[in-house]
Amino acid sequence: MTSLTLELTAPPMPRIDLSALTPDRLAGRSADAIRRLPLWVGNEEATLGDLFTVTAGDTDDILIRCDSDRLDGIGTGMSRGAIRVEGRAGAYLGRQQRGGTISVSGDTGPFAGSGMTGGGIEIGGNAGDFLGAAIPGERRGMRGGRIQVRGNAGDRIGDHQRRGLILIGGDAGDYCGSRLVAGTIVVLGRTGANLGFAMRRGTLLLTSQPRLPPTFNPNGTQEPGFLALLTRDLAGLGGPFGQLQARGTRVHRWLGDLGYGGQGEVLVWA
């Protein structure tokens, strides 16, 4: 069965909340019913059909074609199925996602994967700030699942992250892993200032030497066995993340943030 396809007809001026378009919430609806779904465009109510060309198909496999960064909340709370975005996505991509997969060929806005507890997000381009982070007012960010970014990611990756895995193929912005509670963030490119600021536990796994806050202590060279499990688990992934086994398990290790218990670790492949 072909995908349910939504093609944006014209880039909207205001931001559009697409959180209603998940496999869970569209299940059992006909293409006509989907076209009639209400959407807010600024302060005016419109229908989905006004903005998108809808091609009927499997509601568990949704394809969104758009070249706008104004479509927010794609895949919010989804628990199954797949959403593919050909183009860019706005803010809050996969917010509180519980399962299924979301893939975006281009860039995404801030707060992608915020509060997600399961499933996977793949971002082909760059991710905005606060990837997998908690939104203001929430105490915890990402709590499970896996986010892959082929390009770069912005500041505050994994802020308040509690569990789950974030993979960045390119560079990370400032405050990567700040206030990390637990979980793992892998950055294959360079990292910005104040990496791991106020992290309590969790792992930041890097390929290049970071600029650490002064509240991190060197722990020497270690060979943690879990790295073998992690890289083996990732070996099924395409691209750079599938090649990590070749790096081995020998890492330089720093512990911190000592102002917050110091149970977190920053690992840099030796």
Partner: protein, 301 residues
């Protein structure tokens, strides 16, 4: 029924339902993996006195283990889930956690969980770190050679314990040599365990005793030194009897192991000094599983 000059008794082995778990222990090299496996399965011949029956199922190549290091797969059998949990925790805690370079993983999928690192993690005194990788949770416990990596839980499954057969021979050397052959053949099979020393038991037992405190006592009918005194099952020419006890994850595994073991002895022929193959049972009332020797040998035919 006579196979290659060796008589097969028309009797059956009686086996019981047990519960079992499989663990994978890895280490820096095969030698230390085996040391850890042998240590954690030491003193585990019979549930009566040891709490568990355990042994190494097979050696594992690095490609076959979760962390890519050489390892062994270990089977543990116990009479109840609760007892199994206790034994797994004690044996891993005392024998694997302590053993240099080891890591411990679940070797079995199943619905009934058995804590592994779940409680052992407290050895880390708050410095332990949990990692969830590929849907499984692992604990990293800091120890003096680095980290003890241990999966949080393993699983248990219902299993069969106490399958057996008796080898009656002209003398002890002949019985032992034949049993060694059978052990070699059976240990090539997966999912089975021969819990006794070297896979062979000499002290087969019967139910009950003249002493009130004892549940079981020596199987006098098969003791050569009691021939003439008790109602013996041994003819004049039998000099020694040895028993191979087989635990397996399923009834079919025990059945297959019994067949393979007996076939390997029969292949030696009467010249080996083996006279008869029999089996131990309690009249068929105690165990859920019956393994009729002649039926099993007919499987292949």
């Amino acid at each position: 029924m006579i196979r290659n000059g060796i008589a097969i008794d028309d009797t059956f082995a009686e086996a019981f339902g047990m519960t079992a778990a499989r663990l994978i222990v890895t280490a820096i090299n095969p030698r230390w993996a085996r040391i850890a496996g042998e240590t954690m399965t030491g003193f585990a011949t019979s549930v009566i006195g040891c709490g568990a029956e355990a042994g190494i199922e097979s050696a594992l190549a690095p490609e076959a283990t979760p962390d890519g290091r050489p390892g062994v797969s270990v089977l543990l059998f116990a009479v109840s889930g609760k007892e199994l949990e206790k034994q797994v925790e004690r044996r891993v805690g005392q024998c694997v956690l302590t053993c240099p370079s080891t890591a411990c993983f679940s070797g079995m999928e199943g619905e009934k969980p058995v804590p592994l690192g779940k409680n052992l993690r407290y050895f880390g005194d708050g410095f332990q770190i949990a990692k969830r990788i590929g849907g499984r949770r692992y604990w990293r416990v800091p120890v003096m050679d680095g980290e003890f990596l241990c999966e949080e839980v393993t699983a248990r499954t219902s299993a069969v314990g106490g399958g057996n057969f008796l080898v009656l021979a002209r003398g002890l050397p002949q019985a032992l040599a034949a049993c060694e052959q059978a052990v070699l053949a059976i240990r090539r099979l997966p999912r089975v365990l021969l819990p006794f020393p070297g896979g062979i038991a000499r002290s087969g037992s019967k139910v009950g005793s003249k002493y009130k405190a004892l549940m079981a006592s020596t199987n006098d009918a098969y003791c050569p030194t009691l021939r003439g005194l008790v109602h013996s099952s041994l003819s004049e020419d039998v000099g020694a009897v040895l028993e191979i006890v087989i635990n397996g994850l399923t009834e079919a595994d025990v059945r297959e192991a019994t067949r393979v073991g007996i076939e390997s002895i029969c292949a030696l022929g009467a010249a080996s000094g083996v006279l008869r193959i029999s089996a131990g049972n309690y009249g068929g009332k105690l165990g859920q599983y019956h393994f009729h020797l002649r039926e099993i040998l007919a499987d292949q035919a």
